[in-house]
Symmetry: C2
Subunit: 341 residues, 2 copies
């Protein structure tokens, strides 16, 4: 089968790899019907995160179950499934509290590599959620988005306390930030301010429910958000980048007592204790427990109430993954879908 | 009148000062009937915070209203009152959301100085809460505690999500930490683990509702808390110190999805973004909005349902404030009450 391997920064290749097999009785093997490239895949691609020798890539996927281990009872061969980017048993105390991304038995799917024609899914019963049937072709991008970017944006909006009567700021106009806009709108937010400088992303943000665009960044961006909110700052901020600047911006744009939901994987971020103390914000984030939201997200997509798949603006065959990485790295694409057949 | 002034680290004096007068129409002048020394007063006393020339000290107080400005309508001369350590209008949007300590018109009472026989209280209507009448002498310490340490411990417990079925850890066995124990118990916590090495404080913690004591600190303390919680960490942690070690300990002792309520004023604390990301905790704290809780706290004290005044283990006349500072600095006292007549 074909799969994507990163050999060194900038050197990503689609190669012939061994077919995955059931190792644990809780495993399933799926035929991946669609996968994609994540903003977080760019960290090692750009050499900002160390590349540990040749490494399999990808953690987003939808597919069809091919084989299951003896202990798997909730999914069966032939099921069309969406899974989270973190495999979880969905039964431990942490999972039951809604934090499946920190399951006591968690497996990061990035270590498995789902940019491939087939993938082994650990803890299949707790990780995979069957769809009502074979998805119509036009819903494939949206269902694939549920695997990570939509679920992550949704978690960020929930962690930020987005809801009726709330003004929400979104820092980051990548796929996660844009889907944070969609989530905040679905959760009933009154006003959604997106910080973005890219016309095409601004347009998509408006389509997803943004009411205001702020082009300024850093302190100027914060000042502009405060200006738009009577000097107080917003109730809720979604942080979807993971840099020092974006975290500072998120915390400073939020009013005392407000909430910051941060889902950008932190890179060289350090928060000053005293500033955080006097900010009086609620801060919550981390790897999104996508599994918590998957059943509801699949329903919303299946019923065509939301269209998160609109974040994909480039589709390539798996064989051309390298071009997909280049396009995202050079910001020619927001998010790249990889087809597998 | 007499009042306490810090001249330099270690040099605190009780001096004759000018009587305060109404400046703004929203001011009240109160005769302070009891005040006290806060753990946070030790930061400048120890020279860890800069001493900006001779500075008035104290921000905790109960008293009797003497005079009010023309715009004051909710309290009147003769009222026995408790006030928060932050003056607030209690009407702005931030106050109405429960964050009176970050009121758009906030005045830190430390800048006024309540270790004195009289004090000017800005924004009296929003800051002072009348008691049902003249307090019985034995309730004075508890009512005074409500002004800061009890309200702060209560906020920390609330921010940490303490409640039924929750296991709570408390980092810091000073007055705020101990009253965080009391608050967690009142809020219905199932189990309360206190990190303390002092026998007398352990005893008070148990009296307030602690079920377990952990004497280990740092990584060993975290390991012990995890051992006591099936390896997962607690649901809720109250941080009441404000150092790097105490913040790290609080975050690391808390399970994914759990809550850390931090109220120790941060000193040289820096939080690593990536560690916070993967901790998956909720982090919330800052200067406690004591005003939010005051009516309920006064009721609980008046009805003798709680006895927070037990944290005071030394009472001195205002004239001997310097000895009070020494006693707290040398840990001979947990909290010192200063009488004013």
């Amino acid at each position: 089968m074909l799969g994507v391997v990163l050999h060194a920064p900038g050197d990503v290749r689609t190669e012939e790899l061994a077919m995955p097999v059931v190792i644990e009785p809780t495993d399933a093997i799926i035929r991946v019907t669609a996968t994609c490239i994540c903003g977080s895949d760019l960290w090692p691609y750009r050499g900002i995160e160390a590349v540990r020798g040749p490494q399999r890539m990808g953690h987003e996927y939808i597919g069809v179950v091919e084989t299951v281990g003896d202990a798997v009872t909730l999914v069966k061969p032939g099921d069309h499934v969406v899974g989270s980017f973190v495999a979880s048993d969905n039964t431990c105390e942490i999972c039951r509290a809604g934090y499946q991304s920190r399951c006591v038995h968690q497996v990061m799917m990035g270590s498995v590599g789902t940019q491939a024609q087939y993938a082994r899914i650990p803890l299949a019963d707790g990780t995979l959620v069957p769809m009502p049937g074979q998805p119509p072709a036009d819903l494939v991008p949206s269902l694939l988005a549920a695997s990570d970017v939509l679920g992550t944006g949704w978690f960020a909006a929930a962690a930020a306390g987005a809801g009726p009567d709330k003004t929400v700021a979104v820092v980051g106009d990548g796929a996660v930030g844009l889907l944070g806009v969609l989530a905040a709108a679905q959760l009933g937010a009154e006003r959604i301010i997106v910080m973005s400088r890219h016309a095409d992303r601004q347009e998509l943000a408006r389509r997803f429910g943004a009411t205001d665009i702020v082009e300024e960044r850093g302190d100027e961006g914060v000042a502009r958000v405060r200006e738009l909110t009577g000097g107080l700052g917003v109730h809720s901020t979604i942080e979807a980048v993971g840099t020092q600047e974006s975290m500072d911006q998120a915390i400073r744009a939020t009013r005392p007592g407000g909430h910051v939901g941060f889902v950008g994987v932190s890179h060289d971020v350090s928060l000053d204790g005293l500033e955080l103390f006097f900010s009086s914000v609620h801060l919550h984030g981390g790897p999104a427990p996508v599994r918590r939201f998957l059943p509801e997200l699949i329903r919303l997509i299946w019923d065509r109430e939301i269209d998160p798949g609109a974040v994909f603006d480039l589709t390539l065959p798996l064989a051309d993954a390298a071009e997909g990485y280049r396009a995202m790295d050079e910001r020619r694409a927001t998010k790249v879908l990889l087809t597998t057949d």
